[in-house]
Structure formats: structure tokens, C-alpha cells
Symmetry: C2
């Protein structure tokens, strides 16, 4: 029987750390071999990590990546190895590539044909598009390789490769997470595999890189579009599955149809290699169980993406510990909880910095959270510092009314204190702003926006509540986040009796308008016609547009929605456009 034992290694690479990424790959090759795998595949750009951005313009980086490819090649004895790397003819002609090795020999390589250049992707900035459609017959199994975006085109390489004999398509990916993406992927892969009567093995990167989280969730679909394997979400995994190529052959011969596609212009190359050592007919393999890991539910998935993104940003930058300003509000409470789940309670320091506007409840709630999470907490009242700065400003501020300047000053003194502790002890400051307030600019630049990583910057306020309730459900009632934090009206507490809803609509309304404008890219007219009050829509759109300058100076944070602030949404600061 022709069976291919296929292994997919979803590794957590570090961009630029070629040695680490190579070591990781070799470790997984050994493990796959020990499991009797005939073939092991790694994600897109395994060696460099993804996305390496302008590191790709460094000639030494390109050379070093080829050097590491050679090291991986030497580990391919007895196991076909597919690995993502950067290929190049010269510094001005580079490719997003996959190499296929066996027994220390490079059997061939593939250059990505469809280069994504939208959303967070800038692949046209770096890569030339490939134009060849290689098919590899290795020990009697026909393999087609392609990369990420390639699989999204119905008449792309998967079609050409299948029609020219490929039985298994290895599609290697660096596909970042957003809510709902796994469903889109699986629907697509299912139809692509059944349409082409081919096994499709989709291997995805895992882990955080700056604003992106790669969620793993590698999958294998059989030639009838049935899911036969799914790896873990948000963590490293080695997925192993036996693919029955004889059945595929039989199925194809019973279901032949003439192709209407014209591939005469396509550059199809076939490569054959028969290993003198192990091959797919080998019988003394250990038994393997192929897992179809269940998909996490929506809130669990988002929560784990935030944990993963935070942990990897902190640790891959060489830090261990973080510091967070605790206001007693829900944003800082959720951020702190995520940080503890990401880094451990001993690596999280909470600081409460009450002012004269801070309610007694806020301090109590912060302390209760700290106790529940088991973290250290410092209390640093800011009033003396506020008064001292207002005093040095007294001449400049003479005869003016107290207002936003004084409110922001409090936030900035808190920023100073956190940054001072950060500088003194080497902790990263995590900021606590949510997407709704960042959208409308209800944040203080250099104040609560001061910090290295903005954990929930892509989480709308209404989702902050959902995630808090979700996290509380992990433990017996009432959960780690104090109930009072969840039920009290949100307030920045920068002036007497302030609440967010003094100047903003209720958050469910605000979030609907923001989602319409930002993620759905609806126009003013469309949003109004969806039933929102026109003055309110005008106000919100203007706030979003005018606060681009603040967002440009915001720290990075985890992308979880289809369209996050950051590289996903590139708007000018000088922007005279007005729709309403």
C-alpha cells in the first residue's frame, strides 16, 4: 500500500534569529523521523521568521539564510524535508521560497507565485513572483509545493500541480490570526482539495511577531475535502497523519473528468528521486494518532491570541518582567490578567497611582485584582508630583481655566512613573488602552499611551467586557477580575465625577459605528443609512480621523480583528478629507 506519513511542524520562529530557527527546525526533523514520518514540512520562511521586512535588503542576511538552509539539508537523511527560506539570484531579485530536501540533497525548490500586498502584507516590496510549477516524485509519492497566498487562487498552482500528477499539496504558511480566519481557511482548503481531488497539507507558523500573532492551526484535508488533521491553536505542534495514496489513485481513476484548463503556458517541471534508504513502503513505523484538535471557541481563541502575542513580544525582545498601571478599571484589569497568563504572576508588577480624583473603589478594586492574581502591587500617589508641575507651570497657566491640559498632565505623570520604574529595573511597560478609545483619541499621548506594548489595542471596549467575563469563568465565581470592575461605569478619573459616557455614546453604539467605519470601511452615508444618528456618526468619524497622529506614536499591540490600527490601516496625518 502506498501510504505517505506526513508531518507538519508548526514552529514558533523568531524573526532574524536564524540560528534559533534553524535549531528548532532540526529538532523537529529529528522528532518527525522518530515518528516514522516520510516527509516533514515547515512554515513559510522558517529560517528567517516572518515577516523579516527590510532585513531582506541586507545582503548578509540573505547569505546567512542560505547558510542555515544548508545546515537543515544535512538533517534530511531518511526524511523528505520541506522548508521555507529566502531564495535569490541577486540582491534585487529575491523570492519567497520553499526547498525540498532528501538525504542531504536539494531535490528542488518552489518560488511563491501570488504575493500578497494588502492589509499587513508588503510582499511586492521585497519579492519577485515565481513562475514555475514543480512536482516532486519522491519515493513514489507525488508532491506539489506552494506557499500561503498561492492556495487562495482556484486556478493557482494547486490546480496545475494536481492536474499534473500531484497527490499531496504541501502549502506552507505564515498566516496571521484574526477573528474568524480559521473558518475562512478551512472552508477554502476543503473546497480546494475536493475540487482538485488532492490531499492538501496546510502548515502554519505559530507565535507572536510585533503586532501579528500566527495561530498555527495547521490542517490536512483529504482528496474529498474532509478534514483529517488539525494542529493546536497558538502553540507549537507536530501534526502527523498517514495519507493513503492508493485510495487517492483509485478515487481519481473512478472520477476522471476532462480538464478544461489550459496549462500550456505554464512552466511545469517534474523531479524524481528514489531514496536508497527508508521509503514510504517501509512497514516498521510506530503507530501514530492523528489529532483533530477542536477549534477553540471565539473568546478563548481571542484570549489566547492576546496571551501569545504578549508573551512573545516581551520574551523575544529579551525581557522577563512587565509593569502595568492599575486604575481599577476594566482595561487595566484585563491587561494585567493577560500578562499574568502570558508571563507568570512573578513577572508582573502592578502599580496603582491614585490622584485626588481617584475613587476609593478604584484603589480597592486594583488591590483585589492583585491579590486574586497573586502579583505584587505598589501604590504611588501622584498628587505631590501633579502639584509640583502645576506649580512650575503656574506662571504660564495664569488666568486660564482648568481643562484637558491638567487632565493629561495626571496621565503623563503616571506615564513618567511607570517609565522610570521600567528604566530602573528593566521591566517593559504594558499599556492598557482598548481599540474604542484609541480610535476616538480618548487616550493621552505620553500618558496612558506610554509603554512598550499595548496588549488590548485592537480589542473594542465591548469585547473587553466579554473577555473579562470569559476569563472570570475559568475559576469559581466571582473570578479574578473583581465584579465591581465589570459593573461600574467606565471612567478615566481625571476630573471630578467623570465618566466615559459624559462625552461618548454608550460603548455598544460606539463600537458598532467604529466597526462600520474602520473594519467594514463603510462611508458616512452608509453608516447613517444603517440607522445611526447623523450628528453622532459625523462626530465619531471626525474623532477617528483627527487622532491619527496619536495612533502613529502608539506602541505596537496584538492584531485580533480583520483590520487593526497599525500597518493594516495606513492613513495620512495631514488629511483634509471630510465625508460629512
Amino acid at each position: 500500500m502506498r501510504t505517505l506519513r506526513l508531518a507538519l511542524a508548526q514552529t514558533n520562529t523568531i524573526v532574524g534569529n536564524l540560528d534559533y530557527n534553524t535549531y528548532k527546525a532540526i529538532e523537529y526533523i529529528q522528532e518527525a523521523k522518530s515518528m516514522g514520518a516520510d516527509l516533514v514540512a515547515f512554515p513559510e520562511m522558517t529560517i528567517t521568521g516572518y515577516p523579516p521586512e527590510d532585513l531582506l535588503f541586507k545582503s548578509s542576511f540573505l547569505k546567512d539564510n542560505i547558510d542555515r538552509l544548508d545546515q537543515i539539508s544535512k538533517s534530511s537523511f531518511g526524511i523528505t524535508t520541506v522548508v521555507g527560506f529566502v531564495d535569490y539570484e541577486n540582491q534585487n531579485k529575491i523570492y519567497n521560497a520553499a526547498a525540498i530536501f532528501r538525504d542531504g540533497i536539494m531535490i528542488g525548490k518552489y518560488h511563491k507565485i501570488h504575493l500578497p500586498n494588502y492589509g499587513v502584507f508588503d510582499e511586492n516590496r521585497y519579492f519577485h513572483a515565481g513562475s514555475q510549477y514543480p512536482i516532486f516524485n519522491i519515493n513514489d509519492a507525488n508532491i506539489g509545493i506552494n506557499i500561503c497566498e498561492d492556495i487562495w487562487y482556484p486556478s493557482g498552482p494547486a490546480l496545475t500541480q494536481s492536474e499534473n500528477g500531484a497527490e499531496v499539496i504541501i502549502n506552507i504558511n505564515a498566516s496571521p490570526y484574526h477573528i474568524g480566519k480559521q473558518n475562512e481557511r478551512e472552508a477554502l482548503l476543503s473546497s480546494r482539495s475536493s475540487d482538485n481531488k488532492v490531499y492538501i497539507a496546510y502548515v502554519n507558523l505559530v507565535g507572536g511577531q510585533d503586532e501579528l500573532v500566527f495561530d498555527g492551526s495547521s490542517t490536512i484535508f483529504d482528496y474529498q475535502g474532509k478534514l483529517i488533521a488539525r494542529g493546536k491553536q497558538m502553540e507549537e505542534d507536530l501534526i502527523i497523519s498517514d495519507l493513503d495514496l492508493d485510495s487517492l489513485e483509485k478515487f481519481r481513476s473512478q472520477n476522471t473528468q476532462n480538464s478544461n484548463h489550459d496549462h500550456t503556458l505554464r512552466d511545469i517541471k517534474k523531479f524524481t528521486y528514489i531514496s536508497s534508504g527508508d521509503n514510504i513502503h517501509k512497514i516498521d513505523k510506530p503507530n501514530v494518532i492523528t489529532n483533530i484538535n477542536p477549534k477553540l471557541n471565539k473568546l478563548e481563541e481571542i484570549y489566547r491570541a492576546l496571551v501569545t502575542g504578549t508573551r512573545d513580544y516581551v520574551q523575544k525582545n529579551g525581557f522577563e518582567k512587565v509593569i502595568i498601571g492599575l486604575s481599577g478599571g476594566i482595561d487595566s484589569s484585563l491587561t494585567t490578567t493577560i500578562a499574568v497568563d502570558a508571563l507568570g504572576k512573578d513577572n508582573v508588577l502592578g502599580v496603582t497611582m491614585p490622584s485626588k480624583y481617584s475613587s476609593e473603589g478604584s484603589i480597592i478594586d486594583s488591590k483585589e485584582l492583585a491579590v486574586n492574581l497573586g502579583i505584587s502591587i505598589s501604590t504611588i500617589p501622584i498628587e505631590p508630583a501633579v502639584l509640583a508641575i502645576l506649580d512650575v507651570l503656574s506662571e504660564s497657566f495664569a488666568n486660564t481655566n482648568t481643562g484637558v491640559a491638567e487632565e493629561n498632565l495626571q496621565a503623563r505623570i503616571r506615564g513618567n512613573i511607570l517609565m522610570a520604574i521600567s528604566n530602573k529595573f528593566g521591566y517593559i511597560v504594558l499599556t492598557t488602552g482598548n481599540k474604542s478609545e484609541i480610535a476616538v483619541g480618548y487616550t493621552t499621548l505620553y500618558g496612558d499611551m506610554a509603554g512598550g506594548f499595548a496588549v488590548i489595542k485592537d480589542v473594542p471596549k465591548t469585547l473587553v467586557y466579554e473577555l473579562s467575563n470569559y476569563r472570570n469563568s475559568w475559576s469559581l465565581s466571582p473570578g479574578v477580575i473583581p465584579q465591581n470592575v465589570i459593573t461600574k461605569p467606565p471612567s478615566a478619573e481625571l476630573r471630578e465625577n467623570q465618566t466615559d459616557q459624559d462625552t461618548l455614546p454608550p460603548y455598544d453604539v460606539l463600537d458598532d459605528i467604529l466597526e462600520s467605519y474602520i473594519e467594514k470601511e463603510l462611508s458616512y452615508a452608509d453608516i447613517v443609512s444603517n440607522g445611526f444618528e447623523s450628528e453622532l456618526v459625523t462626530k465619531i468619524i471626525r474623532l477617528v480621523d483627527r487622532n491619527e497622529y496619536k495612533r502613529r506614536q502608539a506602541p505596537p499591540g496584538v492584531k485580533i480583528t480583520r483590520l487593526a490600527f497599525g500597518r493594516d490601516r495606513r492613513l495620512p496625518i495631514v488629511n483634509g478629507y471630510s465625508q460629512s
Copy 2:
């Protein structure tokens, strides 16, 4: 005699302000008509401004831009009008386009073929490439239009259009400034026009947009590659020149050669239009003098780019006034001088914020600068505020040594004070960091980096000195920037007797290494082989790499070098790559 009176209108557009840009265009059309011009051409994307970035994803924006195009069309009676706009078939198929109008009729349009997607450009993110090569015969003059990048390809549209009869190529641009770029452009345009025996009229945008400054400098080259007109640099201008088409025809007939180029696959379309009104044979035109404005010298050009970028950023964002922290050092002195030249002395407020480490000289120098420039200056000593924050931090900082945390705290209190005044009175804070210190991270995030615009962020320290001396040469010795500011050793004055050279090499050495690494993108090995000490190169490269996180939160500032920090240079923050 066939003469085409050609006008090039280099306008200063505002991105997104379609009404303003349209008004501007119509104003210039009237002026060109009054000068008897047969044709007036405007820069790339005149209507939207450049680059509109993700505004292009808004359907209302696309529609509104077409609406303004119709308005401009109505002004084209009696004058052929070439204007840049955004064309589209649907929201997913948009083009960087030029329309050509006469007498209220659109004669045709052109879609940019070569889309730049490197450096600061992301045109593949937005546009589809055109594929047609139209030629317009209007009142007996043969016109080819193409856009910006198109002209840089020897076998691009200029060749095809010339070979198919175009006598004048109108190349419309939004080409941002960097040092030396005008020389590159003119060398290219000269050879392109002589190679194709064609007049080339190059019209460029002018003014600042976020980090970019468009420098105008529109030019016309005759069919033998001779420069016959050059517009002003860094300001609006209308360039008018009479092109002798009869001579061109004669020259071509005497210098015929067979083309070796195969354009059979190219989609060439010809359009003919004869106006019933004015035409090129009209004789009662006012005399015009075609200026070949001299090129500014290097320092003057850079200085004016900085002034233009600063003025436009401030004013296009709706601000009038700026505030600058004066340290008595050369960076803040130059920044303030640029601000005064950009906005006027009444719109610039200097604030000196001495600490216990500030030398007497620094305060004197700041005051002298303020007097020389005629600006207001406030003095706000920060010591009480520093002590107050250190006091609230005393428990947290118990038993630690004074160091970077305390140094940064001073810078951050200064940042707070400037931002408080900014918030109170609506001034933009200008930051004063230069490229050398931003490169190696010798700046304090949320401290001296706090502000809306970073005037000299792309100016290396050695060039800061050159520009200061240059600006001083405007007036009788000793000039506006006090001599002591130029001669004293640079210091951040954040601790006792500190100078920059305690921890950095001399700035001429530092700047050479930085230019090698950043602008020339040389590797560690190459830089060392150019004669720099290996340990020093290692140190500098590591500093540059590790401080990416700070630059990511920096305010925008004027790009003047070939490769600025910002959208020009996109590196990951999590970056494990090490060359040395």
C-alpha cells in the same frame, strides 16, 4: 509655425482636501490661459494630493475625486488641461491616472504603467497598472502623457509614445525630495528626451505631506536633451515655455533611424481633437519669458526643504503656532530657527527648562538665540518637579544607584511641560532630535521625543552644524545662532559634566558609520573593511538595531536623505538578527 505654448503648474496640494486642490487647479488654469498657454499640466494626483494612502479604499473618496475632475473639466475651454486623478472601474480596480481635457471634453486618459513599490512608495497596495499608450493630437500638436515612475524606464511609455508620433511628453509627478535627487532627475530627463527626440515636460508637486517634501523643480527638456525651463524649488510656480514643433519635425526628419523596438504587443491608441476656438496657430499671445531658475546650493536646498516640510505640516494640520524646548544646544537652536523661517517669529514660543545640571551657558545661549530670532521665551525650572517625582518614587527606588531612570525623568518632565502648554494653548510641540541620536537611541522616549513634528529627525549631527553655519551666513557675523552654541561640546546635560562624546565616537565618525549602515545599507563586514574599528561598528549597529522600538513611537519629520527612518525603512522590533 507650429508652436505649443506649454504651462506647468506645480501646485501645493493638501492630501484629502479635494475642494482646495480643485480650487487651486482652476486658479492656475485661468492664469495659464491669461498667459496664452495652449496646454497646462498639473502634478500626479492633483485632485487627491499625494500620497492619499488608505483614503483610496474609501468609495466616497473615489467618487468625490471624480466629481472634482468634472469641475476642472469645465475650466478647460480654450486650454488643453492635463490633470492627475484617481480613476477606477470598481473599488478593487483603481488607477493612478491623468485626464486630458479641452473645451470641457475629456479627450482621453492615461493609466500609470510603472508603479513604484519601494522606499516610501506603496503603489502596488492601491493601483492596478495601466497597459495603454495613448497619443493625443490636439490642435495639431502630438502629446504623450505618462506619470512619474513611467519616465524612468528607457523602454517605457516615452519611447512608445515618441515612436508613434508624440512630439511632447507630459510627465506628471509627485516625486519627493532628497539630497541630490534633482541632479538624478535632470540627467535622466535629458537622456530620455534626446534618445527619443522629443520634448519632455516634467511637472512635479510642491510642498510637505507628513514626512515627505515635494520640491517642485519642474523642468522642460528639448528634443536634443537641453534644459529649456526649470521652475522654482520648494514653492508654487507656473512655468511657461514655447515649444517649437516645426523644428522638432525637421530635426526628426534629418535624423531618422529605424527603430529596433517591437511595440506590436503594446496597446497604442490615437486621439485627435481640433478646437473650434483658440488653437496653437493663434498669434496674439503675450510675450513670456521662460525661466531657468538656478538650482539652489546643497545647504540652501536642504534648509528650504526643512522649512517647507515644517510649515506645511503645521499649517495643513490647522495649527499656527509651535512651542520648542530650548536646551541651549545646536539641535534646538537650528530647529527653532527653521520654525521661525517657516512660521514667523510671532508663532514660535521657546521654553527653557533648566535643571540643576544645566550650565549657566545653556540658559544664556537660549536667551541669546531667542533675542536674535525675536521670539518669546519662557523659563520654567524643572528642579521642584523632578524632586517631587523622585520623592513619590523614593520607596520604589530605595537602595538603587542613580542612573538612566533619573536622567530620563528630567527629559520626561520637560516633555510634560511642553505638552501641557501645547494642550493649554493649542501649539504643536516641535521636537529637536537629529538623525544621529535617533539612530543610536540617544533620546528619551516621551521626553525629548514628545511632540508633534520632528523637524531635523533626518538630519545627521554633522549636517546640523553645516546648516547652522549656513543659516548664520544669511546675516552679518555672528549670525542668529550664537557662536557658543556651535563651538561648545554637545551635551544632553542630564548629569554632571556629561558630554555626548563620553559614550559616542566623534560625530563625524559616527555619521560615517551610520550613513554606511543605514543609507548605503552596507554590512558589518563592509563597514569594517572601509577602515572603521570593528568593536565600534558592532556597537553602533547594535544600538541602531535595538532602538527600533523608540523610532516606531517617534513623531514624523522631514525626509531629506535617500533613506530616512519612517516608511522608508521598515524593520521589525522583534529582531534577532546579528551580523557581528
